[in-house]
């Protein structure tokens, strides 16, 4: 800070720095998206705690549900693990989809959002970059949970291909549902209200589903609700792939649902983004 210690002329340096007229060709859409994604990764360096959601949570969830309920629900923890792991995987990943929305909301309330929007780059690249990093986030969470599951005795019939297909369809759905949170992120006044709203949607959506138990064991009035929950379709699809018995109807519905989510919320997000 102290100018006097600097062994060069501040004024000359300033003049030289401001008189550069170099004007490169602006970054293309892909490069800009990756750069914005890089920004999100850099943030992790300063707040590594934010990785708890994708590291510690999957571990805690899997251990907790397997050992607390396994014996009671399926006779043995090992048997239950085969059933519950795809479900808990879905639960974990779907629960962290609101992060991009929260980051976006954070940016808006600060001035940086204005700077990004006045840059001569493809405008959606801020969002695309953040959503790309989300995919990395989801993949890490999935990898951690599957590794731990394998150690605990998870032996999917579908083999590696089935597991990868299961994770793949989960990522498609998670990406699609993220757009709901980006839309809300642009509408909600604060990070806290967005958190509240997303919990209100995600909590029932993930828990009133077939993640933990077969809907056949539930009261008859609840069954149709659980069975028509989009998360249930996703869980059946993921279980199908991992169990080596793909549920094509559910896979189809997950794709239709994902497509509809993106169709509605991606343009809505972009519209709000431009109008903000």
């Amino acid at each position: 800070m102290n100018k006097k210690q600097v062994p060069f002329n501040q004024q000359d340096a300033l003049r030289a720095a401001v008189s550069t007229s170099e004007r490169p060709k602006n970054a293309g859409p892909v490069s800009a998206s990756l750069t914005f994604g890089g920004r999100m990764l850099l943030k992790i360096k300063y707040v590594p705690e934010q990785l708890f959601d994708i590291t510690a949570f999957p571990i805690i969830f899997l251990l907790m549900f397997t050992y607390l309920f396994g014996g009671a629900l399926a006779g043995s923890t090992e048997a239950y693990l085969q059933f519950v792991l795809p479900g808990v995987l879905v639960l974990t990943v779907v629960s962290i989809t609101m992060y991009t929305g929260i980051e976006l909301n954070n940016d808006i309330t600060k001035g940086i959002f204005d700077r990004f929007r006045t840059l001569p780059v493809w405008r959606p690249s801020v969002l695309v970059g953040a959503l790309l990093v989300d995919l990395v986030r989801y993949s890490i969470a999935s990898a951690i949970m599957l590794t731990l599951g394998f150690i605990l005795g998870f032996r999917p019939e579908g083999g590696l291909v089935g597991v990868l297909l299961g994770v793949g369809i989960l990522l498609v759905f998670a990406f699609s549902i993220s757009w709901i949170w980006t839309t809300l992120g642009l509408v909600m006044r604060s990070e806290k209200s967005l958190m509240g709203a997303s919990m209100m949607v995600l909590f029932p959506l993930t828990f009133i589903s077939n993640v933990f138990v077969d809907p056949d064991t539930m009261p008859s009035w609840l069954q149709p609700i659980v069975e028509n929950n989009p998360v249930s379709f996703l869980v059946v699809a993921v279980r199908g792939f991992m169990g080596g018995d793909p549920a094509f109807a559910e896979v189809g519905w997950v794709f239709v649902g994902s497509f509809l989510l993106v169709l509605v919320f991606a343009p809505l997000t972009m519209y709000l983004y431009y109008k903000k």
């Binding site: 300033l14 720095a17 550069t20 490069s31 800009a32 914005f36 943030k43 300063y46 600060k110």
Partner: protein, 327 residues
């Protein structure tokens, strides 16, 4: 962009610009012309519409009515062209406070199309020039107010823009930091950048801006160089200091008769201040005072300050407004 002969090239042309938010009319027919290569000051109290003008010109807000052009491009139709040539430093830090200064500048450099190595070199050059070298690796949120403002301006000139918007660039800064920001702005204009800045500070507009628009309640209520604005409210004020404070009421009476304007006693114990319309009147007054036996120890005719200009134009003091809006 067609130029009429003799007319300077315009960076910004705004005609009848309107912007409504719900039922609030933030801009109510603003006209502006900013010649390229100059510093243009938009002066006004909080809530006058200064930030809205900048946000429309920076393609962040769409106007509700009227026209606004930047370098000949319409702010709605030509937004993409405009964004290639402008930069904006907002009122609140437009950098990522969670990242370091270096990372911020590198990020912008990459987005502007520099290679990794070029972006790094440019970031380093700017950090050095802005006296932020030692803070390069610190998170921006740990910077002082002045440093944050400098990194913000640095981020705006990673690629030197043709037009730089600065929204209240020195609000909340200490005098030293303010001078540093002023130096940077002057230097930028020297190298050909047009600067459009908003300010609540009359002396800032006076110091920096080639031309000033005074904005109040969504309208431009006066426009011109600071000299022109001052002249528009009369020659200025006559300050008279008396040798004998006891003669104050007599002197005040004479002043009032001759000038027909209110005489201000508040100045100090032996002083009087009154608005004069013409210089010649001031000379006559001194003559009158002399004839009446009132001894004058000191006198001056001063041009009005911008604060007085503002008061005359709006009927309110700029500072008063500021306190109200904040309180």
């Amino acid at each position: 962009m067609d130029n009429k002969a003799g007319e300077p090239r315009m960076a910004v042309v705004v005609k009848g610009l309107e912007k409504t938010f719900g039922t609030t009319r933030a801009l109510d027919g603003v006209d502006l012309k900013v010649p390229a290569g100059t510093v243009y000051g938009v002066l006004g109290p909080n809530g006058a519409g200064k930030t809205t003008v900048i946000r429309v010109l920076a393609t962040l807000l769409q106007p509700s009515g009227g026209r606004a052009e930047v370098f000949g491009y319409d702010v709605v139709g030509g937004a993409a062209h405009i964004r290639k040539r402008i930069s904006m430093t907002g009122q609140f830090a437009s950098v990522d406070k969670d990242l370091s200064g270096m990372e911020n500048l590198h990020l912008i450099g990459r987005l502007m199309g520099f290679t990794r190595a070029q972006a790094k070199a440019r970031a380093y050059e700017l950090l050095r020039a802005f006296g932020l070298e030692e803070a390069a690796k610190k998170q921006v949120k740990q910077y002082s107010g002045g440093m944050q403002r400098r990194i913000d301006i640095a981020a705006s000139i990673v690629v030197t823009p043709d037009l730089l918007f600065l929204d209240e660039p020195t609000t909340g800064l200490d005098p030293r930091s303010r001078n540093q920001v002023w130096d940077i702005i002057r230097m930028l204009v020297d190298t050909g950048t047009t600067v459009l800045l908003t300010t609540q500070y009359l002396d800032e507009a006076d110091q920096l801006a080639d031309r000033i628009a005074v904005v109040d309640q969504g309208k431009v209520i006066a426009e011109g160089t600071s000299g022109e604005l001052k002249a528009s409210v009369g020659v200025g004020k006559l300050h008279v200091r008396l040798q004998d404070p006891g003669q104050r009421s007599l002197a005040a009476q004479l002043l009032q008769q001759k000038l027909g304007t209110a005489v201000d006693y508040s100045f100090n114990g032996s002083g009087l201040t009154a608005q004069v319309a013409e210089n010649s009147l001031a000379v006559q007054i001194l003559d009158e005072l002399n004839k009446a036996g009132v001894a004058v120890s000191d006198f001056s005719v001063g041009k009005p300050s911008l604060d007085e200009v503002f008061l005359t134009l709006t009927g309110r003091s700029a500072e008063e407004e500021e306190v109200e809006a904040e309180g």
